[in-house]
Each structure stands twice: as C-alpha cells, then as structure tokens.
C-alpha cells in the first residue's frame, strides 16, 4: 500500500439555521494515497462539495466544522487559523472549482495571476515565477504556453480555462488537489481531454486528487477508489472497479441501475423512487430507508458500518450480496467493438 497523504476522520460540518444545526457532513472518513484519485460521488445535497470545502477550511459561517480531523501528511489542518492555513492552502493542498470563469480574475492576464500565485508561497524572482508558470501550463497540455501567459481569461475557451485552473493548482506540487465538479460545465470531447490529462498528472507527479462529482461514468473511468455519499454520510466505499461492478449498498446499486446507457433501449429504467430528503427533515436511522426496496424494521436505527474484504465498506443493515460476474461488462463490450 502506498503512502497516505490525506486522511479524513469522522468529519462533521454543520450549518446553523433557525431549524437547528443541519448536518451537511455527518461523520465522513476516507483516505487518499499518493498519486491516487478518489471519486467522491453523490447527488445534489449529499454533502460532497461541503466535504471538499471543509477539507480546505473554506466553510464560512453559519457553517462550521463541528468535529473530526483532516490529516494532511499526518498533520491536522482543521485547527489551523488565518495565516497558518493560508500557508498550507495553495501550497500543500489546492482546489479546482466547477466554473473556471469564477476562479480566474477577468481583468488580469493569466500570467499575472499565475505569477502572484507562485510568489504567494515561494520567494523567487518574477522571472523565475514566470518560467514556473509557463512550465505548469505546458504540463497540463496547453499549446504555446508563453503566449497564453499574455492572454486574458475571456480569450480562452472553457476547456482551456479549466486547464489553467488545474495548472494554478499544480504550481506548488501540492500533495492533494480537491476538484469540485471540474468537468461538469465542459463538452464531452473536452472533458475527455481533461480526464486524460488528470490521470497522467496523478501518475507522473504523485499528486493525489479528490474528484467531487455526480457523474458515475466519469468516476468509473477515472478514479482508483470511490466514496458514495448520501445525506451527509459515506454510504459505500471501496476500489472503483469493485464498487461499480458489484455495489453493496442499495443506494449505489439504484444509482448504477438508473444509468440509461446500461439498458436495452426503450425499456423501462429501474428507478429510485422519491427524491433526496431535506437535511432539515431526515428520517431517523438510515436516511435512505424510505426510498429503499430492501428496507426492513432495523432501518429506523442507525446502520452499522460493515467492512468487507478488499477494503470495502457499506453503511447498511442489509447490504447486497456480492456478485461474482460483472453484470455491466456486456454492454461495454458492444461499445468497444464499435470503436
């Protein structure tokens, strides 16, 4: 097993509202190894983005981290304040957001922004900073990086802007990059380019990624490991191929089953009934129980974290038995022959 760079332990993030404290993140734990990609999957309101923000200390009042630890290279960073956190953020851990137009300053040239980011953490000359910025752009596959340094964000396409955002995150070779839905706003052909780039960067530079997304297909082709979140909790985790091939939690199974590409065209899709519950009004015990076909009497009590072989877990009273054959491989081979 390779060296763990980020370990999140029992993280709790709450938002204070008139209705009481909403537990947006309720006891989330996971770890990411050097050069690994962890897919943090969930639907809207599952707490996946708040988990990402909490790791970087970006949760603002009325939200607060109510408990747990975030160990970056063994050091807890949840208790760091102000300047101390600023030293870490951007240098040892960085973030890429969904919309690169919001992250880049529209009135500054790409070069100006990148040089400022270099010099925020390293005492180097402007000239050295500039060459580091140029190298970072080249590393994420941007053609003619020297000229791009002179461009303004609006002169670049969406895909290019996201590459720039990733390049900025990479400037100080951080141990971990948290990416929050970074390809959701991009076209599929451009998304494919970015995913290929990220996989290569993780393998070559050893930077670990936490890839926050709602898209199971992206995670299944990119990530090494998966955590599936529902209503603030990790309901299932394990190696990506195993979780996708044989989900143990009924929610993961329901999500996977409702992806249209895996079914005979025109047939009725298996659907998860109902909709995601509001955090202010969670059912007691397992939050998924009211939508779950396997729910039984025990589900009104908090489900146990079940550990299975192969580093897998499921938060469920009645986990699904593992299947030996991979049920999804049939359709994927028809696709392969097409290419």
């Amino acid at each position: 097993m390779n060296e763990v760079v980020l370990r999140v332990k029992n993280l709790q993030t709450q938002f204070q509202t008139r209705a009481g404290a909403l537990k947006a993140v309720d006891g989330v734990s996971f770890e990411v190894g050097r050069g690994r990609i962890l897919g943090l999957v969930g639907e809207s309101g599952s707490g996946k983005s708040v988990t990402g923000y909490s790791i970087l200390g970006l949760v603002e009042p009325p939200g607060r981290i109510a408990g747990g630890e975030v160990l970056l290279n063994g050091k807890d960073i949840t208790r760091l304040k102000g300047d101390a956190m600023r030293q870490v953020r951007g240098a040892q851990i960085a973030m890429v957001f969904q919309d690169p137009m919001m992250t880049l300053n529209p009135v500054l040239k790409i070069g100006t922004q990148m040089i400022a980011a270099v010099r925020a953490h390293a005492r180097v000359s402007r000239r050295a900073a500039r060459s580091r910025a140029r190298d970072a752009l080249a590393k994420v596959g941007i053609p003619s990086p020297e000229e791009r340094l002179e461009a303004y964000p609006h002169q670049l396409s969406g895909g290019m802007r996201q590459r720039v955002a990733i390049a900025i995150a990479l400037l100080h070779s951080p141990a971990v990059i948290i990416a929050d839905e970074p390809t959701t706003a991009l076209d599929v052909s451009i998304q494919g380019q970015i995913l290929a780039e990220v996989r290569r960067l993780a393998d070559e530079t050893g930077t670990a990624f936490v890839w926050v997304t709602h898209d199971l297909a992206v995670v299944s082709s990119l990530a090494d490991d998966i955590c599936v979140m529902y209503a603030g909790r990790v309901v299932e985790s394990g190696p990506a191929a195993d979780v996708i091939g044989s989900p143990r939690h009924p929610y993961t199974a329901g999500l996977l089953a409702s992806v249209p590409a895996e079914h005979e065209p025109g047939t009725k899709l298996p659907q998860v009934p109902g909709s995601t519950p509001s955090l202010a009004n969670l059912p007691p015990g397992c939050a998924f129980a009211p939508r779950c076909a396997k729910a039984g009497p025990a589900c009104t009590t908090t489900p146990p974290l079940q550990q299975f072989e192969g580093g897998r877990t499921a938060l469920c009273h009645y986990p699904i038995e593992p299947v030996s054959c991979q049920p999804l491989s049939l359709t994927s081979t028809t696709y392969r022959s097409a290419s």
């Binding site: 396409s157 290929a196 249209p260 590409a261 909709s275």
Partner: protein, 334 residues
C-alpha cells in the same frame, strides 16, 4: 415508411450581430468593422415520421438547440422551410415570429427558468389550452388535475407555486404544460440534463410511457449519448451547424461511420468500463462565427486530407436509412 409528420427541408439559420451605435459611427469614419454572422444551422434536412423519436446529439455550438427552436416555431429559418403536416410551423411578421400551430410544443432544459415563479402551477398548465379553446374555462380545473395525475404528480398540488417543487417535479409540470396543448410533436431540449441521475430515470420513464400512450412524435435534443440511445429511434449527430451522421439508433451505436461520431463515442466516459485509457479528440471546438473551410471537422480529424479542407462533404446515403457526411465514403480525402 409512414408519411412524414415533420419535414425539415434544407434549413439554415444565421444570426447577424448588427453593429451597435458606436460601431456604426466607427464604420462611417472608415473603420471597416464587418457585421458578424453566426451560422448556427446550415443546410439541414431531416424528416420525422409520425410516432418516431429522433435524437439530436452534439456539443456546444453544434446548432442542435437552434434547430429544435426552429421546429418549435420560436425562430424562423433564414433559408429553407420547416413543414409540419404540410404547413409551415411559423412565419415572420415584421420583426416578430408568429407561430402557426399549437400542435408542436417544447420542453426546455431548466425547469427552474421555464416556469413563472409567481403563477400557480395549475394556471401555468391551463393558460394555453384555455386561450386556444382546447378546453372551456369551466372545465380547466379538472383538465389540469387529470394532466398532473398523468405526469405522476398529486392533482391537489395545482394551487402551489413552482418553488415548492423539486427539479424532477418541476420538469413533470413542464411536461404537463406541453401536453395540455394536445401536441402531436414534442421538442425536448436537454430535458433531463439538469436532473440528478436517480431523478433522470424517473423522467425518462415518464416520457417513454407518455410516448406509447399518446402516440407522440418527438425531437429529443441531448449531449448525453446514453440518454439519446435509450429513447430515440433514429439519431442525428451534429457538428458546427451540420448533420454529419444520421442513422437508426442501434446501427449508429453498433457501427458509427463518421470520424466525429466515432471520436465522440471514444471520449465519453462510461460506467462499467473500468479505468480506461482515454483517447480524446484533439483540439478545440471551433467557433461557429468562423468555422473551418470544407468539412468543419477536418482540423480535428485523424483521417483528414486536402479534399476535406477544400470541399464540404454532403450528407449521403451509405446504407438503408443511414447517412454520413464524410469524403472517406465517397472516393477518399485526396
């Protein structure tokens, strides 16, 4: 093959950006600033038979939404004509577009933007049919209750406002509003793109049920190849304003012909394939303001030759019901 319900005949749509006052003055003073023309759709032909669902797939700027809006009568074509049951769907009256039929209805992508937040959903659904005498005002209430039931919502919700519903429920309301006009043809523009996966399946199931119950014809616009495969009988792949490939769904997915279609299938991440080596399409999507010469895809195409730069390949039959616009099928790229 049954008679065509919808006939899209050599349709093009250009959007002209007129110079603003400052630019006009600059023009008078001799600064040669040209009017910018976006060729959103160029020379597209497509017929849709009654009861058929045709998927339109493509990336941003490919013109799929513009084509959908022309079919729905929101825009009129710059060239060519769109006939619905042998009559045009819309005509230009001065500067306004006047829709000529109520039998084509559209469902938009974002149900948060397409429903008026200050109107009760019952009134949103009944407004159209009452105005067009499809139902009498007296009977509107039970008509709405019926429709809401049909799309899987509790009829007692009709006094509520849009903000009281989730995304999936709002999309059901938008579908009920379209159905209220008793349409023959539905244009669905990315109807599930803004929904969560588990909710997406619910809405797709609803669409497929309604389709078989009401014998609906549909144009289903999406960037999601999996969704389109599931609901469409035929699929048209668009790139920068042109249809590059058109084929029955099963055949297209089994054996895509056009290099762009193949590249698109290659770059889509899929559940269950496992960690894969991406072979993404190189390069950016060119701007429709300034598309490449000849075949629009040639700068990104691995098979491009000199001919692709010179002349645009026409959409030609390559098999029964299959069409592709590529020089590789017609004598090579040299």
């Amino acid at each position: 093959m049954p008679a065509a319900l919808l006939d899209i005949d050599h349709v093009s749509k250009r959007f002209v950006k007129r110079p603003n006052l400052g630019e006009q003055i600059a023009g008078l003073l001799g600064a040669g600033r040209k009017t910018e023309i976006v060729r959103a759709v160029s020379d597209v032909s497509l017929t849709v038979a009654k009861g058929e669902v045709v998927g339109l797939v493509g990336e941003s700027g490919c013109g799929k939404s513009t084509l959908g809006r022309m079919v729905a009568g929101i825009y009129t074509p710059s060239d060519g004509k769109i006939l619905f049951g042998n009559a045009p769907v819309a005509k230009e009256q001065g500067r306004r577009t006047h829709k000529l039929t109520t039998r084509v209805q559209m469902i938009h992508q974002d149900p948060f933007a397409s429903l008026n937040p200050r109107i009760r959903i019952g009134d949103t659904v009944s407004e159209g049919p009452v105005a067009h005498n499809i139902v009498k005002a007296r009977e509107a209430d039970s008509y709405v209750a019926d429709l809401l039931g049909r799309v899987g919502l509790d009829p007692s919700y009709r006094r509520r406002f849009p903000h009281q519903f989730s995304g999936g429920q709002r999309q059901r309301i938008a579908i009920a509003r379209a159905l209220a006009m008793k349409p023959d043809l539905l244009v669905l523009d990315e109807p599930v793109a803004s929904l969560d996966v588990s909710i997406q399946a619910q809405v797709l199931n609803l669409f497929m049920d309604l389709r078989s119950d009401l014998d609906l014809t549909g144009i289903f616009i999406s960037h999601d190849l999996g969704v389109v495969r599931h609901v469409s009988d035929r699929v048209a792949i668009m790139y920068l304003g042109r249809i590059v490939e058109l084929a029955p769904t099963a055949e297209l997915y089994a054996k895509p012909n056009h290099p762009y279609t193949r590249a698109l299938f290659e770059s889509v991440p899929r559940v269950g394939v496992g960690r894969k080596n991406f072979r993404p399409i190189a390069g950016e999507i060119p701007s429709p303001l300034n598309p490449p010469s000849g075949c629009h895809f040639h700068p990104r195409c691995p098979f491009a030759g000199p001919r692709c730069k010179r002349e645009a390949p026409p959409l030609e039959a390559i098999g029964p019901g299959r069409f592709s616009a590529c020089h590789l099928n017609t004598g090579g790229t040299d």
